[in-house]
Amino acid sequence: MIWMVLLFPLLGALLNGFLLPRRSKLLSHGVAVAAVAGAFACACCVFLEFFATRHSHLYFGFNWLQAGKFTAPFELVVDQLSGLMILIITGIGTLIHIYAGGYMKEEVTTYRFFAYLNLFVFMMLLLVLGNNLLVMFVGWEGVGLCSYLLIGYWFQEEANAKAGMKAFLVNRIGDIGFLIGIFLTYKHFGTVSFSELSSWMNLMPTLAEPYPKALFWITLSFFIGACGKSAQLPLYVWLPDAMAGPTPVSALIHAATMVTAGIFMMTRLSFFFYAAPDTMLIVACVGALTALFAATIALVQTDIKKVLAYSTVSQLGYMVLACGVGAFDAGVFHLLTHACFKALLFLGAGSVIFAMHHEQDMRRMGGLRKHLPITHGVMLVGVLAIIGVPGFSGFFSKDEILWKAFIFPTYGPILWGIGFLAAGCTAFYMVRLLCLTFYGTPYQDKSAHHHHHPHETPWYMWGPLVVLALLSIGVGYLGVPDFLAHLVGGHNLFAHYLEGLIYIPASAQGAWGHLHAEHAHELEWGLMLSSVALVTLAAGTAVFCYTNRPVRGVASFLGGHFPRLHQLLLDKYRVDECYQRKIVTPLAEISTFLWQVVDVRVINGCVNWVGYLLMGTSGIASFRMTGSLHRYGFWVLAGTVCVLIISCF
C-alpha cells in the first residue's frame, strides 16, 4: 500500500510527461487529479493502518547504495510524523490539483504543468517517507527541482525564469548545509538511518566529547539546510520571487508543503537538536526575527501574492521559533494549520486574480465581495484563522508557540515579545489585504482596458476552497492547548499524538526540564488574552484605515511621517540589493576573472599549446596513416600475432 502512495503520483507524472496526447487538457487534468487522489486514498489506508497500532513501521524497498560498510537502503518509514505529512501532502495536494484544472484552463501546455506538479507530489512524499537522510535528500533535491520548474513555468518571461534560478541557487546554499550535515552525521555516527540514529541517541545516557561539539555543527548544518528550504533569514529571499509561478503552485509548494520541509527535517532530527542547546538558541532567534522581519515587510506590500509570500515567511518563522524553543509538536501543529489556511488564502487569492484577469495589485481591486461571495467568505475564514482569532485554527497553534517561547529559559520573554509583535503585524496586514480586496469601493480603471466584470469561479475552483475553509476552522481543535482543554476535561490531542515520536534524549533531559514543568495557568491565560487584545487592536486599526477611506490612508500616513521607514519597508529592507552588491557582484567579478584570465588564457592556452605541438609533430608520424583498411587490419593482426608469440615464451 505504501508503495502505491508513491507510485500513483510518479505514474501520473510519467503519463502526463511522456504518454498522454498533448492537446487533451481534460485528460491531463483528470490523470493528475486521479493520481493524487489515488495517492490520498492509499495514504489514508496507510495512515489508518498505522493509527490502529501507533507503531512506526519500516518498509524495505531495495538495497540502493552500498559501498564498503556504508549502506543506504531505499527504505520508507511510516510513523506519527510521516503519516501526518503524507495526509497533508496528498490531501491538500488533491484539492489544489482539482483547483489547478480551472486556474490553468487557458494554458496550452497543461500536461507539462501537471507532470511537474505530480512529480512534485512524488518527490515530497519521498522526502517525508524516507527512512534515511539520503532518501530524504533525493526528495529534498527533487522538490527543489520541481519548484524551480514550476516557478519558471511561464519561462517565456525573463523575470520568471530568473526567479526560478534565484530560488534554485539560494536553495543550493541550504542544500550544501544539508549535505555537510549528512556527511558529518555519517562521520560521527556511521549511519544515516533515522531509526538507527534515534535509537543510538535514545540509549546514550550522557554524551562525551566529541559528540556535543559534533552535534552543534551537525545541527547547525542541518539548520542551514532548513533555512534554505523554509525561507528563513538570511536565505528567505527566494520565496517572494517564487510567486512568479502559477498560484496553485504557490499554494501547494510555497505555502503548504515544500517550504515546511525544513521544519519537518528538524522535527525528524529533533533528538539531535535537543542535544545541541546552542544551535537551538540560534534557531529560536532566527525564527523569531524572521517572523517579525517578514511581517513588517508585508505591511506595505501591494501585490496580493507578495503579501501572502511574506506572510508565509513570517509564519515559517513561527514554526522555526517553535522548533528552537523545543516545542516541535507545536511547530508541527502550526505546520498543519498553516498548510490548511495558507493554501486556502493562496487559492482564494488565486480566485481573485483569476477573476480579475491576472491583476495582482491590490490597489486596483476593491469591493469584490459582491462579485465573489464564496471567495470572500472563505478568504474571511482564512484571514481569521491566520491572525489567530479565538476559535480558529491559527489561534491555537500560534498561541501554543508563543507560550512555549515565553517559558524558554534563555531570552524567553524577548522571543515572546518579538513573536507577539509579529502577531500584531500579521493581524494588520491580513485585514488590510481583506479590506483592500473585498471591501470599499471598486477600483475605477481610468484607462478601462478591461470591461469584464469579475465573476465567481466555477465549482471545481471554489469547492476545494470551501473544504479548506472547513479544515482551517476544524483542524485547530486537534491541538487545543492543555490548559484550555482541561476546561472541558480533555487534553492536547495533537501533542499526545506526537508523544511517541518527539522525545528528549536522556543526555539532554536536564536542559529541557522546563517543557514539562508546571506553570501558572493564570500566566498562560494572561498571555493569551493579551495577544487576543493585540490582534483585535491591530485588526481594528486596519479596518479603520482601509475601509471607507481613500485607500492609501496608512501608506500616506507612514509616507508622510516616516518617509524613510516607509521606503525601507517598501524596498523590503533592501536585502536583495545588499546581496546583489555584497555577494552576487563580487562573485560575478571573480567568475569573470576566472573565465577571462584563468580559463581562456591559462588553461585553454596550455591545452591549445599542447594541441599545436601535437599537431605539429603528428605530421611527422602520420605518414603511416594511409587510410588503407588493409594496412590497418594488417597491423592489428601483426600486433596480435606478436602478442601471441611473446605470450608463448
Binding site: S622, R624, M625, T626, G627, S628, H630, Y632, G633
Partner: protein, 103 residues
C-alpha cells in the same frame, strides 16, 4: 560417437580458417569479399567454441556459438547496408576509395 576427435585437430583447423580469413581481409580489394573473409574468421571462432564445448563436456560453448551466429548476422546486415551506401556514394566498392581516415 564414441571415439573423439582430439581437440588439437579442431584447433589447427580453426587456426587455418582464421588465417585464411585474415588473409582475405588483407589482400582483397572488394568489400564484399572482405566481409566474407570476416565471416570465415568468425567461423573459426565458432569451431573453437564448439570444440571446447565438446572438450569440457557441457553445452555452453554451443550457446556462445549461437550468440556468435547472431552477431555475425547483425554484422552482415549492417556491413552490407554500408556496402550498398558506399556503392551509391562512390559507384563501386573497392576499398581503396575508402580513405577518409588518411592522416
Amino acid at each position: 560417437m564414441s571415439a573423439m576427435v582430439p581437440i588439437e585437430h579442431s584447433l589447427i583447423l580453426a587456426f587455418l580458417l582464421f588465417f585464411i580469413g585474415a588473409a582475405g581481409v588483407l589482400i582483397r580489394r572488394n568489400l564484399i569479399t572482405v566481409l566474407m573473409s570476416i565471416e570465415l574468421m568468425l567461423n573459426s571462432a565458432n569451431l573453437l567454441f564448439v570444440a571446447a564445448s565438446r572438450q569440457v563436456g557441457n553445452v555452453e560453448g554451443q550457446v556462445m556459438m549461437s550468440f556468435v551466429i547472431l552477431i555475425a548476422a547483425c554484422e552482415a546486415a549492417i556491413g552490407l547496408a554500408m556496402v550498398i551506401a558506399i556503392f551509391r556514394r562512390y559507384g563501386n566498392i573497392k576499398t581503396e576509395f575508402l580513405r577518409a581516415l588518411r592522416g
